[in-house]
């Protein structure tokens, strides 16, 4: 049952990702990417990461994609024009390289984890029921990963300043 639901959202995600990379209009591409992100959020729920799924919808579909659509609108790129997809030669090389990459990634599907490092099955769900879904992510975030968390805040500040400096016409 879970596997059926997984592949239902998986097929939606794959189809919309394929449409995202083949649509000529950048706005259509962005909207199909939003569909992919929602499908991925559903998969995160199936994989016991409900908090990450909410973040995915809020941060990715809500904030980052709005930024993309905003820039497309600002540059007036939605109007019809010549396709930006490469010609037969470029397309052939791209598909060939993509097929090679897929072939190289194919052993991933046979992954087995050594039992020495895996947790007993269901222990993540047990932790979430014991601590709460948000706390089970927040406890390591504010404990073992506190310094990376603080560095991430510095990174975001640098990104804000950098974006303003780059996008401003005259400082």
């Amino acid at each position: 049952m879970t596997l059926t639901v997984f592949w239902f959202f998986g097929v939606i995600g794959m189809g919309s990702a394929l449409l995202c990379i083949t649509r000529k209009n950048p706005i259509a591409s962005a909207l199909w990417l939003v569909v992919t992100l929602f499908a991925l959020a559903a998969l995160f729920v199936l994989l016991d990461a409900q908090f990450i799924a909410v973040l995915q919808v809020l941060v990715y579909a809500g904030a980052i994609m709005v930024l993309f659509l905003f820039v497309i609108m600002l540059l007036n790129l939605g109007r019809p024009g010549p396709s930006d997809i490469k010609g037969p030669l470029g397309l052939g090389v791209a598909v060939l390289l993509g097929a090679a990459l897929l072939f190289l990634l194919q052993p991933l599907t046979q992954t087995t984890l050594p039992s020495a490092i895996t947790l007993p099955p269901g222990s993540v769900v047990a932790l979430q029921q014991q601590q709460g879904i948000v706390s089970s992510v927040a406890n390591p975030l504010f404990g073992a990963y506190l310094i990376p968390f603080e560095i991430a805040s510095v990174l975001l500040l640098a990104a804000i300043v950098g974006a303003v400096v780059l996008a401003k016409r005259k400082l």
Binding site: L47, D84, I85, G90, P140
Partner: protein
């Protein structure tokens, strides 16, 4: 267990992202394909977090923070390039090309 299907799906999604980067010329669409690749990796982290502990989910949090920063700076660069060249096509960004 959904580990194998999740890893298979993330491999396909990552490949689609790479394919998009290779076959498009519009800088914004290429940027969206990079986001697609980041999401494929996020799926891998979440799938492995199910059996290896919550560290994977915490790492997805950091990937999202880096992706947000990258999107803000990248789009600002695209805006600056557009102002300079009146185009976001990578074909027109050939300043370093010979001739």
């Amino acid at each position: 267990m959904l580990l194998s299907p999740a890893l298979a799906f993330s491999a396909v999604l990552f490949t689609l992202g790479v394919l998009g980067v290779l076959m498009r010329r519009n800088a914004i669409v290429i940027f969206m394909c990079v986001e697609l690749m980041l999401n494929a990796v996020n799926l891998t982290f979440v799938a492995l977090a199910q059996s290896l502990g919550m560290g994977g989910q915490v790492f997805v949090f950091f990937v999202m923070a880096v992706a947000a920063a990258e999107a803000a700076v990248g789009l600002a660069i695209i805006l600056a390039v557009y102002r300079h060249k009146q185009s976001v096509s990578l074909q027109n960004m050939n300043l370093l090309k010979d001739g």
